[in-house]
């Protein structure tokens, strides 16, 4: 048996909280929402999490997602006002020192590549943009990718390679890569299997698998089969192939809005429109290409309304952050007994 214990309930936002993101060192948590602000939470001397900093005046509409740069010195914010804000602390205080424009309407997601040199964004305008960080504080658009046919919900980078994944209202998942001969970014893979909007995606630690969650109430696990793998279909190009190796249905009763794959414990957590948080673990298997996953923990009524985002702490094992339409951010400690 295992359980999820409440560590603290953090109140500071007005209205719906859309996203939570941990600093790479795990000691700061950022949250954002419809009140157009970013809250930065940290532990005080007594060990309680407090809202130390509230960033305002960067955006004129809802802030949908925030992301820390891998160095931890920058925060990027995606807003319904069609812009991306880049915040830093160079003046001693957090300030929005760059605004990236180009998307035609709401920016839904932003993500920093692991090397810190690339930033990706996506929008309701159906496009995915790749931004290159040329010089200090100089952001150049390296690609505008129009592969999706609908609203793009989330972008995520592969943890070790410059591969970008995006998921969309068009029900598909796409992977993008840069062609190193002509520096053109192209869509290398399109994966279809979900029956409705794909809301989020999370890679495992080495990037050999990822999980996707959807409005179709399922969680799917995908695995990469490289060229010399006998399981890979013959006749394909020398590209590796991603395949859906497991579909978890029947666990979630409404749309699943977010998924986080812990790089310390390998556990997968989901945030759902039925107010619950669920944790999944790979079970023992015989065939490595057909693993099964079991739900090892469910916290019904984790929040009073939809759970919009879930995120494992990158340093402290089992520490989980979540946020909800109910206006709160919650911290949890997962314990496997």
């Amino acid at each position: 048996m295992s359980k999820l214990e409440t560590v603290q309930c953090l109140k500071g936002h007005e209205g719906r909280v859309w996203n939570v993101a941990w600093h790479p060192k795990g000691n700061l948590l950022a949250s954002c929402g419809e009140d157009k602000t970013i809250c930065i939470w940290s532990k005080d001397a007594l060990g309680k999490w407090q809202n130390k900093t509230k960033l305002t005046e960067g955006h004129s509409r809802t802030i949908r997602e925030i992301g820390w740069s891998p160095c931890g010195n920058y925060i990027a914010s995606a807003s319904f006002d069609a812009t991306i804000g880049i915040w830093d602390k160079k003046s001693g205080e957090w300030e929005c020192n760059a605004t990236l424009e180009g998307h035609e309407n709401e920016v839904k997601s932003i993500a920093w590549a692991n090397n810190g040199q690339l930033l990706a964004s996506c929008s309701r305008d159906k496009s995915v943009w790749v931004w290159e960080i040329a010089d200090e504080d100089e952001y150049e658009c390296a690609a505008v990718l129009n592969a999706h046919t609908q609203d793009v919900k989330k972008v995520k980078w592969h943890p070790t390679q410059d591969i970008l994944a995006s998921v969309s209202y068009d029900n598909s998942i796409k992977l993008f890569k840069e062609d190193l001969t002509d520096h053109d970014w192209t869509c290398s893979t399109t994966l279809t299997s979900h029956d409705s909007t794909v809301w989020s995606l999370a890679f495992n630690k080495n990037g050999s698998k990822f999980a996707t969650v959807s409005d179709d109430k399922t969680l799917k696990i995908w695995k990469e089969f490289n060229c010399n793998d006998p399981e890979k279909n013959k006749g394909d190009s020398n590209e590796s192939a991603w395949k859906n190796i497991c579909t978890l249905s029947g666990y979630h009763s409404r749309a699943i809005y977010d998924v986080s794959w812990c790089h310390l414990s390998d556990l997968i957590v989901t945030g759902c429109g039925d107010d619950a948080i669920r944790i999944f673990k790979e079970s023992d298997y015989i065939n490595k290409n057909e693993p099964s996953y079991e739900m090892i923990c469910v916290c019904e009524k984790a929040h009073n309304q939809d759970v919009n985002s879930v995120s494992w702490n990158p340093v402290i094992q089992g520490l989980l952050a979540s946020c909800s339409d109910d206006g709160t951010v919650k911290l949890w400690q997962f314990k496997e007994l």
Binding site: T62, F80, K108, R124, D151, K153, T197, D215, R254, D274
Partner: protein
């Protein structure tokens, strides 16, 4: 008033009687759960975006197309556009959603869907109406909220 209607001669339905209050319902000490009649009462006087008529009079909403499951806090509202190509379907659905968002306790999960078989773009409209992120973005549009407020404004009278 618009110069041309999509449905030139809509059928007008009779309004239902007001709900009769029982002694139990008026007793503050007895808790009564929200039922489909109560949800219907919240929606029946929403105006059509085109006609000076209510959604009840156009039979767009009716009590037997509303389901309330109190155990799971679910409310499902089916609405029936007056014609299968009604371009106002999304706007009507959005008005119903906003009205329930404001009037029902926040614990309720509301699904707004077109009555199966009554609209040509049923799937696309349903998907959009139930994507809360797109609904949230739409409601930040001042022009659209003004139109919606106009449709639901009269419900208070």
């Amino acid at each position: 008033m618009p110069t041309s209607y999509e449905n030139v001669n809509p059928k007008i339905y009779e309004k239902s009687e007001n709900r009769e209050l029982t002694v139990e319902e008026e007793d503050e000490l007895i808790s009564d759960e929200i039922d489909c009649r109560e949800v219907f009462d919240l929606l029946r006087n929403v105006s059509d975006p085109e006609y000076p008529l209510t959604l009840e009079e156009l039979n767009v909403v009716s009590q037997n197309h509303i389901k309330v499951i109190n155990e799971t806090n679910e409310v499902v509202v089916n609405f029936t556009p007056t014609v299968p190509h009604c371009s106002m379907a999304t706007l009507i659905g959005l008005s119903l959603r906003v009205q329930l968002l404001r009037a029902l306790p926040s614990r309720y999960k509301v699904d707004i869907c077109i009555t199966p078989g009554s609209h040509a773009s049923e799937t696309a409209v349903n998907k959009q109406l139930n994507d809360k992120e797109r609904v949230a973005a739409a409601l930040e549009n001042p022009h659209l909220t003004e139109v919606i407020n106009h449709c639901i404004g009269k419900t208070l009278l």
